[in-house]
């Protein structure tokens, strides 16, 4: 063996405006092994991988690949050098054939023409080598997710990759397909290819991994051989921080049931979710990204189709078909993705605050009242902006979020749903948003709070509902919710659940 490590990343720091996503982390990968990266959402795994393959440029730190220091400017450079990434969301061109997808951007040529014959024969050879049962002429879009993934892996191999990064590769696979994937991984290992594996599923991690590296809050924790670790140890390494942030949680009177959800389902996104929400209560929704939490609240809010179950408010069955219905029933949803479905960036603060409540201003619109409302929430939420007329896109993330909080408070909801309310906003604004939420609960409003941040969920919630892959795995009371327990519920496979 020429060298011990195929890849060494040392002291990688990555700063985004206002956030230090990576605080000097390291990663050392041995050739021909499966190296698993573990950590909560936001621990820095994906950011680190993006620095590696040239999507991001690290602020400082050194990357040594195959004995040479590298700094890729693009994924194409990384692929040509021998590092491929199979993304969580695959990005094939569905209308073209499998074969064309494999060779996209580097089609073999004969003169100036594409050599279609060579493309096909090379493709066959490649699939044979990996033991894949794929038809190069099939349209990419007709394949299952598992098969598309196989194509992506074949593509990686065709680049002669020495490292293949797999980000949550099994999240959309059936059990049989997972087995097949693992056989291919073994095949790759035997060719001395190193696999960097990102997953949240404990069982499969211990089945497949040689080494495990744990990150937490952008910091490197440790790297150990998989056989020296147990599930419990990994979980406590992942969440091992003290809950140091202050949360202004005030115990307040929990009132009667206001919202009751029974066996709620929406297609494949989530099934059979049941819970009750009380006045004055903050119900946390915990779980990993993709567990179906956002989909649940979108269904309650009427913007996603309900395929089963019933929702009651104050004992009466609700039939909500649109956001309009939800708002008039006293439900508000502060969405996760501010830019996508929250703010209208071109419009002013005033107009964004009033947007969900324009009925209030009559005909013709009462601009004076709109100004009063705008001013009220600008002051109450201390939104920092030159004037009420400032377009919202010119504000910082935290102030944009406050504008949206103002929008929903103006509708005077009984139930306020907040989805990742503090994502991507600075610490100060974060604390302010927390105290607003707590204050609202104190006023007898019922709150559902989705959060991927463990301290936030544990600090703010009266109870925590935990989801795993579209299924509700448990509801914990404030006093019994430890981060270890929540993480366990959030990563448990359905069969584990049956064992309990």
């Amino acid at each position: 063996m020429s060298q011990e490590f195929i890849l060494e990343m040392k002291d990688i720091v990555k700063e985004f405006p206002g956030v230090k996503a990576l605080k000097g982390v390291e990663l050392k990968v041995r050739p021909g092994t499966v190296h698993t990266l573990m950590g909560e959402n936001g621990a820095g795994k994906s950011t680190l991988m993006k620095c590696l393959i040239g999507i991001y440029k690290q602020t400082s730190g050194q990357i040594v690949f195959d004995g040479k220091e590298v700094n890729f400017q693009s994924t194409l450079q990384a692929m040509n050098a021998g590092i491929s990434m199979i993304h969580q969301e695959l990005s094939p061109v569905p209308e073209r054939s499998v074969c064309e997808n494999v060779w996209m951007g580097r089609e073999p040529r004969k003169g100036i023409c594409v050599d279609h014959k060579k493309m096909r024969t090379e493709c066959f050879k490649l699939f044979e080598k990996l033991g894949l049962d794929l038809d190069p002429d099939e349209k990419m879009g007709n394949l299952t997710v598992a098969k598309m993934q196989m194509v992506e892996i074949a593509k990686a191999v065709s680049y002669d990759s020495k490292i293949v990064i797999m980000d949550e590769p099994t999240s959309a696979l059936t059990e049989g397909e997972v087995e097949h994937l693992f056989r291919i991984i073994e095949e790759l290992k035997s060719r001395d290819v190193a696999i960097i594996y990102i997953s949240h599923k404990m069982a499969e991690i211990f089945q497949i991994s040689d080494d495990i590296t744990v990150y937490r809050d952008g910091e490197y924790i440790t790297t150990k051989p998989a056989e020296e670790l147990t599930t419990d140890e990994v979980v406590s390494l992942m969440v091992g921080r003290e809950v140091t942030e202050m949360f202004p949680k005030v115990e307040c009177e929990i009132g009667e049931t206001i919202l009751k959800v029974e066996n709620l389902s929406s297609g494949t996104a989530f099934q059979n979710v049941s819970f009750e929400l009380h006045r004055g209560e903050i119900l946390g929704f915990s779980g990993l990204v993709g567990a179906g939490r956002t989909e649940i609240v979108e269904t309650i809010f009427g913007v996603r189709r309900k395929t089963g179950g019933t929702i009651y408010k104050d004992g009466k069955e609700l039939n909500i078909k649109s956001a309009e219905d939800a708002i008039s029933n006293g439900i508000a949803l502060l969405t996760e993705d501010r830019r996508e479905n929250g703010i209208v960036g071109l419009l002013s603060i005033k107009e964004n605050v009033g947007l969900a409540n324009l009925k209030r201003y009559g005909f013709p619109l009462n601009h004076k009242k709109m100004n009063q409302d705008g001013n009220k929430y600008k002051e109450m939420l201390s939104i920092k902006a030159p004037s009420l007329e400032t377009p919202v896109m010119n504000l910082s993330g935290g102030n944009q979020q406050k504008v949206l909080v103002g929008r929903w408070l103006l509708t005077n909801p009984d139930i306020l749903i907040v989805d990742e309310p503090t994502r991507g906003i600075d610490v100060g604004a974060k604390a302010e948003i927390h105290s607003i939420i707590t204050k609202l609960a104190g006023e007898g409003k019922a709150i559902i709070m989705i959060s991927s941040e463990m301290p936030e969920v544990m600090g703010m919630s009266d109870r925590v509902l935990i989801m795993h892959e579209g299924r509700q795995t448990g509801i914990l009371n404030r006093d019994e919710a430890t981060s270890e327990l929540i993480m366990q519920y959030a990563t448990m496979e359905p069969q584990d659940q049956n064992d309990k």
């Binding site: 071109l346 009033g354 947007l355």
Partner: protein, 329 residues
């Protein structure tokens, strides 16, 4: 102090276009003094009023991040139908028979506006509920309405009642009726845009339709309304055109009018990325295009060259618009 200088900048970026108009007017007046004569200015306003009203309609479609290519053909269809309803009776060659159906002027206009509303309703429903690109849906409207107009009559419809022609040819004081109607439409559009929920809804839909939906706005219903308004404006344009010229030719009426209307709205600062528009800007855009058309005629520039200039102005306006918005983002 700081906020004041900020306002000046904003004022300039929003109203700088009026400066362009003023400079053009001054230059033309120097080169061709006849430009500023009352006669010429009246002709200019009269000839731009119809396309201007179309522009007020198309502005809504563009604001909602869509487009409408149908208005020119709606002008043809509505002008032909309405004209046939108000042809003088007893003349030979009357489309609906020498003593056939004849409506009073207001009723005939109502029929015309109704046709516009139905066309807009169908187009709007298709766009909002099937989510096909507005460009395609309204291209269909364009072809179909023009064909319907030609199927309705294969020859120009003339000899229209004077009571009908009054809507364009009449005068209130020194102001021609057609200009009065244009001004009323301007006020109505400004009111809808700034003083009603509907206006705010369309701004929000154009700016971020997902956010609008999550804020409880019925995106589909509002989009349908947008295309109805756009088509009704075009129908009004058709009525005015028939009244002004005293006849309606289904194959040439309103031809390419949508291009001019889109150009006016665009030059006037309506962003094709949606969510940005000011009625005063659109008014200025209409006037600028009018001055260019009029000026090039006065300068004796030939017709093809005029179109080259107009084409260049549209593209230039969009380039400026894109740059302005990139800077903001």
């Amino acid at each position: 102090m700081k906020s004041k200088s900020f306002d000046t900048k904003k004022f300039l970026s929003q109203n700088g276009i009026w400066g362009v108009l003023i400079v053009m007017v001054i230059l033309l007046t120097i080169v061709r003094p006849v430009f500023i004569s009352r006669m010429n200015l009246q002709t200019l306003l009269e000839s731009e009023s119809i396309k201007g009203i179309l522009a007020f309609g198309i502005m809504w479609a563009i604001l909602s991040k869509g487009i409408d290519l149908g208005p020119g053909s709606v002008v043809a269809l509505v002008s032909a139908v309405v004209a046939s309803l108000v042809q003088q009776t007893g003349v030979t060659g009357r489309l609906l028979g020498e003593n056939g159906l004849h409506l009073s002027a207001p009723l005939a206009m109502l029929v015309g506006l109704l046709i516009g509303a139905v066309v807009g309703l169908i187009t709007g429903v298709i766009i909002a509920y099937t989510q096909i690109p507005p460009f395609i849906a309204t291209l269909g409207t364009q072809l179909i309405c023009r064909a319907l107009a030609k199927m309705y009559t294969d020859r120009p419809v003339s000899n229209l009642e004077d009571s009908f022609r009054w809507i364009a040819k009449g005068k209130i004081g020194p102001v021609p009726m057609i200009v009065v109607v244009f001004i009323i439409m301007y006020i109505l559009t400004a009111f809808l845009l700034t003083q009603t929920r509907f206006g705010k809804n369309v701004y929000a839909i154009g700016g971020n339709s997902q956010a609008a939906r999550f804020a409880g706005i019925n995106v589909e219903k509002n989009l349908v309304m947008v295309y109805i308004i756009c088509s009704v404006c075009a129908a009004l344009g058709g009525i005015l055109l028939a009244a002004r010229t005293g006849s309606a030719d289904p194959s040439s009426n309103g031809l390419m009018y949508e291009t001019d209307a889109i150009a006016a709205a665009t030059v006037g600062g309506t962003s094709h990325s949606g969510g940005i528009c000011r009625v005063s800007g659109v008014l200025c855009g209409i006037l600028i295009l009018g001055v260019i058309n009029n000026g090039l005629v006065l300068l004796g520039v030939d017709d093809n060259m005029t179109n080259v200039v107009r084409g260049a102005i549209i593209v230039g306006a969009v380039i400026l618009d894109m740059r302005k918005n990139v800077k903001k983002a």
